[in-house]
Each structure stands twice: as structure tokens, then as C-alpha cells.
């Protein structure tokens, strides 16, 4: 042995466990408006500072400040607010439906609604998102029929996916929403391939893909980023860093050592790090990346820094592994409250109208759930069982025909 201290295996630990006092002081949050906005044609080597800062537009008073202010029409802001609120209220309702045994499973996107809502509105109808299970706001922003969603969640006879997939793992081609995989590592790869296809065809469509902080560790994520760089795919690759992967804090994905936006540097791609709870910042960064992609400048990586305000899924109790009050300390706040504050600050909104909107959306949800319940809930109704044998291949083979016969259906 050398005359030096022995080697030690380092195992990351989050700043606080249940019972510990909560502090987010270790997190460096630059002021809103402080980060420069390069030209969308800038060279990667001139942007290597961006992964280490945080693009923010909304300040503490709800004002939009700095070069990234997208200067949006209030009507667009209201559309975003509505989608976010709808997502929040719907999530709560469906979570309750799970506790009532009406569905097998559910996952909320609480605290992360700005992401899906803003990006859904930035991108065009021909573009395609390769979403995670925390992107319902994308669909809400595009007015995906609530009843279809409810029917899938209840796995009932009208389930638009005919009972083949879990609740929340949706697929909605017409809404630019690619089929969600249960396996985490694949989305970036499919997004990059789809984007390459658009470039191959000389079209103008772009792809936007998502992974969580935890998922960045999958090999497929790296492979996709390599392809994105090599072929300059017209894509946006988003890392939704909500700081938790089930019970594992982001240190287990490398967050002790650097930011997730810094992954971009490995591939010579620009990496933006964005306040994910700031609707305007998410909008602006996404638009920048979309412009860049559409003008043949290739892929941008965006880290959306946020906080998973609730449990991982209906199977999870987060107070088992993190302080119960951690969410309430999260310094970047609630994306809905922040956009609301901004709308009020610019004189486009007030508490009364907000309350009315909540009431309206709650009623819309109530009606949809009622309609879904009328079709049936988990175990009480299900799609025609013959669907089980359909869509394996384009045409069934003898096995499927024999097995259907064996079932007598």
C-alpha cells in the first residue's frame, strides 16, 4: 500500500432526508433576465457558458425581464395558464380516481406543467413530441379530448388505445404526441430518427424529445445525442430535471458533479439551462432551439430545471425518502402561480377571473369523468377482447388466429 489515505467509495446522498431541515441554499439561482441570448446561428464553442447558468424571464414580482422575454400576446399566456391549470386539476381528480379503484395507475406532473404547456404552443402541428409520462400539459394545450384521456385511464370499452397500454402512457399522433414507452431510454433516439427523417425528406418538421434527470443515465440517451450531433438532426432534446427519480435524488444521475445541460458540451451541441417553472423562459428557450433546428443548425439540448412536487406515481409515498415539506421550500415556486402573477402584473388577469376559470375547468373535468364512468371504470368495463390479438403485426398470423379461436372469440 502507498503511504496515502485508502481509497473510499463515494455514494451520493441528498441534502435532506425525512426529518431533516430543508434548505435549497446549495442551489445557485441567478436573477431573472441575467443570461445573455446568443443568435440562433451562434457556434457551440461560443456558448459553453450557458449550461452553467439558468435562463429566467419572470422575476419575483412577476415581471418579464431580460433578453429572453418572448413578448407574448396575452391571449397566448392565457392559453398556457388554462392548459396548466387543467393539467393540475385533472391530475388531482385522476389521483382520487385511483384511490377509488377506478384506474390501475396514475402519474401526476404537478409543478412541471409549464413545460408541456409552453412547448406544445411553441411547436407546430406538424412537429412531433416524444414525451414522458409527465407531459399531459402538452395535450391539454392542444385540446386533446378529455374524455379520451379518461377512457384510457379507466381502461374501459372506449379506451382509445383499446386496453393495450397503461393509463397515462398515451399515444396521440394527431396531437403531435408520440407513443410513450414504458422503457425509459428510448425517447431521444426515436425523436432524433424522426427529425433525421424530416431532414432526409427536405421537410420543415422538427422533433422534441424528453427524458427525466434520472433517465439521462441510460445508454440510449447518449446514443441519441451522438446521432443528433453527427447528422445535425433538427431536434430539441429536453432533460426535465425535477431532481428526483422515484426515490433517487439527481446526484445518482451525476448532478453532484455538474449540470445536465452540460451534457450538451460532450457532443458539441448548444446546451441551455432553463427555469422550468417559468412559462416564459421555457417558451423562449424552446423557440430559440426550434428556430435553430428549423434553419439547419441542428439539435439543442435544454435542461428544464424544476422540482417534482408530488410522488413519483400512485405507487409511491415520497415522505419515505425526502422531507415532507421539501416541495414547499422549492425556490422557483409554482409555475401556475408565477404565470398567474405575471398576468395580473400586466393587468390581464385577476383573482376573480382565476377562480372562475378554476370552476369552469373543474366542471369540464367533472363532466368528462362522469361520461367516462358511464362507459365504465377499471374492471367494470373493458374494450372488446378481440383487440388483444390485433395490431401485433399489420396482419395476424396463424398463431393469433388459432389462439383467438381457442378463446372462442
Amino acid at each position: 500500500m502507498l503511504n496515502i489515505p485508502r481509497l473510499q467509495l463515494h455514494v451520493p446522498e441528498p441534502p435532506a432526508r425525512p426529518g431533516d431541515p430543508v434548505s435549497f441554499d446549495h442551489i445557485d439561482i441567478p436573477a431573472a433576465g441575467a443570461v445573455r441570448r446568443p443568435d440562433t446561428a451562434a457556434r457551440e464553442e461560443d456558448m459553453r457558458d450557458l449550461p452553467y447558468t439558468l435562463i429566467r424571464v419572470l422575476d419575483d414580482e412577476g415581471r418579464a425581464v431580460g433578453p429572453w422575454d418572448p413578448k407574448l400576446d396575452p391571449a397566448v399566456l392565457l392559453k398556457g395558464l388554462r392548459a396548466m391549470l387543467m393539467t393540475r386539476l385533472f391530475d388531482d381528480r385522476m389521483f382520487r380516481a385511483h384511490r377509488q379503484g377506478k384506474t390501475s395507475f396514475y402519474m401526476k406532473s404537478t409543478g412541471e406543467e409549464a413545460i408541456g404547456a409552453a412547448q406544445s404552443l411553441v411547436l407546430g402541428a406538424g412537429d412531433m413530441s416524444f414525451p414522458t409520462y409527465r407531459m399531459s400539459a402538452w395535450l391539454m394545450a392542444r385540446d386533446y379530448p378529455l374524455l379520451d384521456m379518461v377512457n384510457q385511464i379507466f381502461s374501459n370499452a372506449d379506451d382509445p388505445l383499446h386496453g393495450k397500454q397503461l393509463p397515462i402512457l398515451t399515444s396521440a399522433r394527431d396531437y403531435g404526441f408520440y407513443s410513450i414507452s414504458g422503457n425509459l431510454g428510448s425517447r431521444f433516439g426515436h425523436a432524433v430518427g424522426w427529425a433525421m427523417a424530416s431532414a432526409y425528406k427536405g421537410d420543415d418538421k422538427i422533433a422534441i424529445g424528453y427524458v427525466g434527470d434520472g433517465t439521462t443515465a441510460e445508454g440510449g440517451v447518449h446514443e441519441a445525442m451522438t446521432f443528433a450531433s453527427v447528422y445535425r438532426a433538427p431536434a430539441i432534446l429536453c432533460i426535465t430535471n425535477n431532481q428526483w427519480a422515484i426515490s433517487s435524488y439527481s446526484g445518482f444521475a451525476g448532478a453532484e458533479a455538474t449540470t445536465f445541460a452540460a451534457r450538451a458540451i460532450a457532443y458539441g451541441l448548444p446546451g441551455l439551462r432553463v427555469d422550468g417553472n417559468d412559462f416564459l423562459a421555457v417558451w423562449a428557450a424552446t423557440q430559440w432551439a426550434a428556430d435553430r433546428a428549423r434553419t439547419n443548425h441542428g439539435t439543442t439540448v435544454i435542461e428544464l430545471f424544476t422540482y417534482r412536487a408530488e410522488g413519483h406515481s400512485t405507487s409511491d409515498d415520497p415522505t419515505k425518502y425526502r422531507p415532507a415539506d421539501e416541495a414547499s421550500h422549492w425556490p422557483l415556486g409554482d409555475p401556475i402561480a408565477r404565470l398567474k402573477q405575471h398576468l395580473i402584473a400586466i393587468g390581464e388577469w385577476d383573482e376573480a377571473r382565476h377562480e372562475a376559470l378554476v370552476a369552469e375547468l373543474t366542471e369540464t373535468i367533472r363532466v368528462a369523468v362522469k361520461a367516462g364512468e358511464a362507459v365504465g371504470t377499471l374492471g367494470k368495463s373493458k374494450p372488446d377482447v378481440r383487440h388483444m390479438f390485433e395490431g401485433i403485426f399489420k396482419e395476424p398470423d396463424w398463431r393469433h388466429i388459432e389462439q383467438r379461436n381457442e378463446m372462442g372469440i
Binding site: L9, V11, P12, E13, R17, S104, F105, S155, D159, H162, G163, K164, Q165, L166, L169, S181, G182, N183, L184, G185, G214, T215, A217, E218, G219, G220, A245, I246, S247, S248, F252, A253, G254, S315, K320, Y321, L378, K382, P383, V385, H387, M388, F389, I392, R399, H400, Q403, M407
Partner: protein, 347 residues
Amino acid sequence: MALDTANTISVRTMNMIQALNSALDVSLAHDPDTLIFGEDVGYFGGVFRVTDKLQEKYGLTRCFDTPISEGGIIATAIGMGAYGLRPVVEIQFADYILPAYDQLVSEAARLRYRSNGQFWAPITVRSPYGGGIFGGQTHSQSPEAIFAHITGLKTVIPSNPYDAKGLLIAAIECDDPVIFLEPKRLYNGPFEGRPDAQVKTWAGHPMAEVPEGRYTVPLGKAATVREGNDVTVLAYGTMVHVALSAIEETGIDAELIDLRSIVPLDIDAIVASVKKTGRCLIVHEASKYAGFGGELSALVQERCFYHLKSAVRRVGGWDTPYPHAFEWDYFPGPSRIVPALRACLED
């Protein structure tokens, strides 16, 4: 099975989760070179709680969380194994073992052979598998066939708490790489494939009486769950209970063999039983086509051809992806096993 009597005086009723936890506990206590890692297995104790309290008891470096990277988990385990450790890793669901398939097949399974014995990978890969919990496509699959075909991997599948603990300790102490598939539907109780029946716990089940200390159940020895003369039923994991229930429903004098491991396979027990009964039904939950039942059917037929009074039959999952809403249509429950059993006898 080898009982370490000094340590096993006290026996406790355990469900499968507790029995597995106890196996890990015993192994960590017994060998400082054994360590555990996987997604969410550390502080939280695993999404199915199999590693509950082990980090607290043994410290941060002996039971810890990992990046979400199944390939990385297995690769790291192989490197540790080559160093001389005995890693026991968890893959959160067997459906998510596939990103690590190359590491398991091209590396873990082949390291000893290709280095002519200079290096080997004494790793154990635990993973909850199988359906019956409304987990949909990617929380329900039974991938044992894709491991059984791989020369150099052992594949173990317990069906009850006693075996689970003894087999897991044997797997950990084995110098070969072992895939250890845990039928998740059995974690909390035996399941007879009748989703409408009342849920059972392990309490009162004889195989839930589990010694607290170290003991092993050897890899490669099948268990005869029920002796019988008219037909041999081969099963493993959840399907042992489902098959037993189906047998009881028919009243047929069937001999039920729980294979416990499919590599190594207890070929002698299988052949002896089929030679006695002259009939054989194979049951597994995985899709039937090119599933492990094909191998079993071929082996039985090759070795017992002149003893067979009727065709060897198979009951398996349909050849579809695992369909969320149609779980009980897909699942090869008693309603499919009973007629197959009868057909074995009618021929």
C-alpha cells in the same frame, strides 16, 4: 438443501419479500465482499421493499442506489466480480433488464470461458417478473426463455418464501452469474390464477415457515409439489400455484414438479416423473412461441418417447404483447390449464 443448523433454530413466517430480504441480510452479514445495488434499493429499500433497512443496517457502501442504467449496473457488477466481490444487483422490473442484455450475454456469461478461467463474474441479478398486477406491457413480462438459451447464465425462479431465501443465498454464493427472477405476484401471497377469488397471504402456508439464519436450496434441484400418477405437470414461479389449483379443480392425480431453476435443469426429476405418468403438461406464463416450454417439451419427448401415452402439451401466455386491460384473458389461468390437463388424459 443445506441447513446451517446453528443459525436456523428460529423459524418465522415470512412472505416472499421478507424471505428475500432475510437472504440478503444473511449474505451481507456473512460476507463483507457481498454488496447490493440497483435503482432505488438504498435508502428507500426498493420499490417492492426487498432491500428494506439494509442500507441502514450495513451502511451506505453496502446497499446503494444507482443511476437508471441497467447496462451500467450489470457492467459495474461484472467489473466488481472480476475484482473479487460478489455483487447482488436489482433490476427494478425484469422488463427493464433488456438494456443490459448485451452485458449479460456477451460479458457476464462468457467472461470465464473466454479468459479460460482467469476472470469470472459471480454476480446475482435479482428482478421481479411476471404479471398479475395490472402492470401492463412493461411491468409484467416473463423473459426467462431469452436467458435459458444463453450458455453461461444460470436462471432461477422460486415459487415460495422458503425456496426464495435458500435459492437466493445459493445464487449469491455461486461463482457463476445467476439471473434470479422473482414472481412479483407471489410477493405477498400465493396466487392461484383466480383474480376474483379472495387475496391470500403467505400466512399458514408451509413454505412460508422460514429459518432466520443461513441455509441454501441447491440450484438445479426441482421440488415435487404434489405426487401423482396420471400426468406430470411442469411449472415454475407463479404457475406452480396456478397449476396446483387447476389440478385440484379437476381432481386428476397429477404429479406437479416445481422446476425452481431452468438452468441448471433437474432433467432427472423430469424424466423420472414422466416415465412414471406417461403424460406431461408444461405451464408457463410467458408467451408460448419459442418460450422455455418448447425446450421442456422437446426434452421430455426425446427422453420419454416410448413412455408417452399422449402428446406433451403446453399452456402459456398468448403470443401477444402483455395487454394491460386484458390481463386475465392473456394469463394462462386455471380456465386454460384445466382443459389441457383433461386433454392429456383423454387422448
